[in-house]
Symmetry: C2
Subunit: 305 residues, 2 copies
């Protein structure tokens, strides 16, 4: 049974929120860990609205320092303080976030109940988070100010030993780990049983590539080859390619082209310009290039499989 | 016919927003002018939700520099920029707002399309805004950091000349203004007609006193005597008077006591602690002291009459 791995959409509007769409934020859950990707204005209310566990978020990743991607962070931190949080919170962002937060602590005379550990994203350090099960790396976006996407990848899991093999060969405890790592079994009589006879493949590692905001670029394509789910901004429809280029954003068709070239399993569109009321045309246009296209809409829980 | 004078509640939650209540913000409309009092996180979305004219707001008043009263301002300014605003915007607040905004302009590399004129509130300058029809003065609150209430008062209007008197006495044009100001009529034959015989009283000036956040204090009571509408924070019910005092907030009973002592016409409660789900008990408790008590709830439009 693979572990839970999904993203919940809290907002998918571009620069301007609308009465129906909040700006950028998503919560990625992997197993029992919760990661917040972007934290636009209203994120703390959206977390409550969709009954996500506010207090279990220990790592927040901000793609870039445009308001529609970070303005909810100060409020979320004030709320953590009021709720008496004592666990440290890790914030990953391009330079500037610490300054923005600390000036507000100072002016509001707040001594927060917990530490914030600021991790400044740079082009030099790609791997920014790692635990037993997953790792998170930055992806270089091409936008008006320094901007990073995030690639959340499962680590390869150990092989599963067939239950029948355990009984049949009476595999000693001390050999279990080695066999899970791919070694052959050496029985007590010296007989060697090839690993593939007694184990089955683990589920293949899954990955989620979160790419917002960027103009069309293939500069990180090799790194997201075959990703389970590609979230890619699609601020405009295909007929607005000129505006997209000028503002360093992407279109539906560009997002779909990248998904296709990178061999992604699925494409999730988001970061829609407030000018569009209906989104179905976005999906249809992208699906003409890459059929497995889905729309990110508030409250959606999208599996990474 | 008196001019439009009302307040629309955008948020009435204390420090923590809940899934149903946003934090502090109200739009006061007088005639064709719109004033924003406080600007908590999500205010720009609430303005859209309640179809208020975003672009007609030229004056924003921030009571104090706690996050639940100002965190929506950076986002509103970014949005004004994206919408191409060119009119100057006036922001009145205790010191610090300019620093918080400008550091964010700098980090996000934004050159805003309009000027923000910052007015720092101090104890020395009471009158902070004035036009033909109204004036706005600060009221000194008693809270953990420098905090100001706002008293929005109509200026006295000219007396109305009875239509019958205009015909009967053939009042010459040049005497009209003097009579409206209260002078007697001097007829062409030298006869003096007392002002009260030919005019009627104008509608009495109305006023709105916005008092958030503060512990119970009577230090501004004389200045709000007989106010048409007193908005007073009531973070807690009466049984939590100890916590209220400790946190420098007020209770239902304290708000009602002040309304009664000040001879307010109506009391509007707000700034409810997130611990309370139902608010009717707030109203009932305050009404036991001051019957004309109302609850501020999102989307309510409350007349000032």
């Amino acid at each position: 049974m693979p572990e839970i791995f999904h993203t919940t959409i809290l907002g998918s509007s571009a620069a301007l929120p609308t009465s129906l769409r909040h700006t950028s934020a998503q919560v990625v859950q992997h197993h029992n860990r919760f990661f917040l990707l972007d934290c636009a204005e209203g994120t703390q209310m959206q977390l409550r609205r969709f009954k996500l566990p506010l207090m279990k978020i220990d790592h927040i990743f901000i793609s870039h320092m445009h308001g529609d991607h970070y303005l909810g962070l100060p409020g979320l931190l004030f709320t953590y303080h009021l709720l008496g949080r004592d666990k440290a919170l890790h914030v990953y962002s391009p330079p500037g976030m610490q300054q923005i937060i600390e000036i507000q602590y100072e002016i509001s005379q707040l001594r927060p109940s917990f530490d914030v550990v600021y991790h400044e994203l740079t082009d030099d350090a790609r791997l920014i988070y790692e635990d037993q099960r997953i790792q998170i790396e930055t992806l270089p976006m091409d936008h008006r100010i320094p901007t990073y996407g995030f690639l959340i990848s499962e680590k390869p899991r150990l092989r599963n030993i067939r239950k029948s093999a355990i009984t049949k060969h009476r595999i000693p405890q001390e050999q279990m780990t080695l066999i899970k790592q791919g070694e052959d079994l050496v029985a007590t009589d010296g007989q060697v049983v090839p690993n593939e006879q007694i184990t089955i493949d683990p589920p293949p590692p899954r990955s989620y590539a979160f790419c917002s905001d960027t103009k069309y670029t293939e500069q990180f394509m090799e790194r997201i080859k075959g990703t389970s789910l590609l979230y890619h901004e699609a601020t405009f429809m295909g007929d607005k390619a000129d505006i997209a280029r000028e503002k360093m954003h992407s279109t539906t068709l560009e997002a779909a082209t990248l998904a296709k070239k990178a061999g992604a399993k699925k494409l999730l569109l988001g970061h829609y310009s407030a000018r569009y009321k209906e989104l179905e045309a976005f999906r249809e246009e992208a699906a003409s290039v890459f059929p497995e296209t889905y729309l990110a809409e508030e409250g959606d829980v999208v599996n990474i499989e």
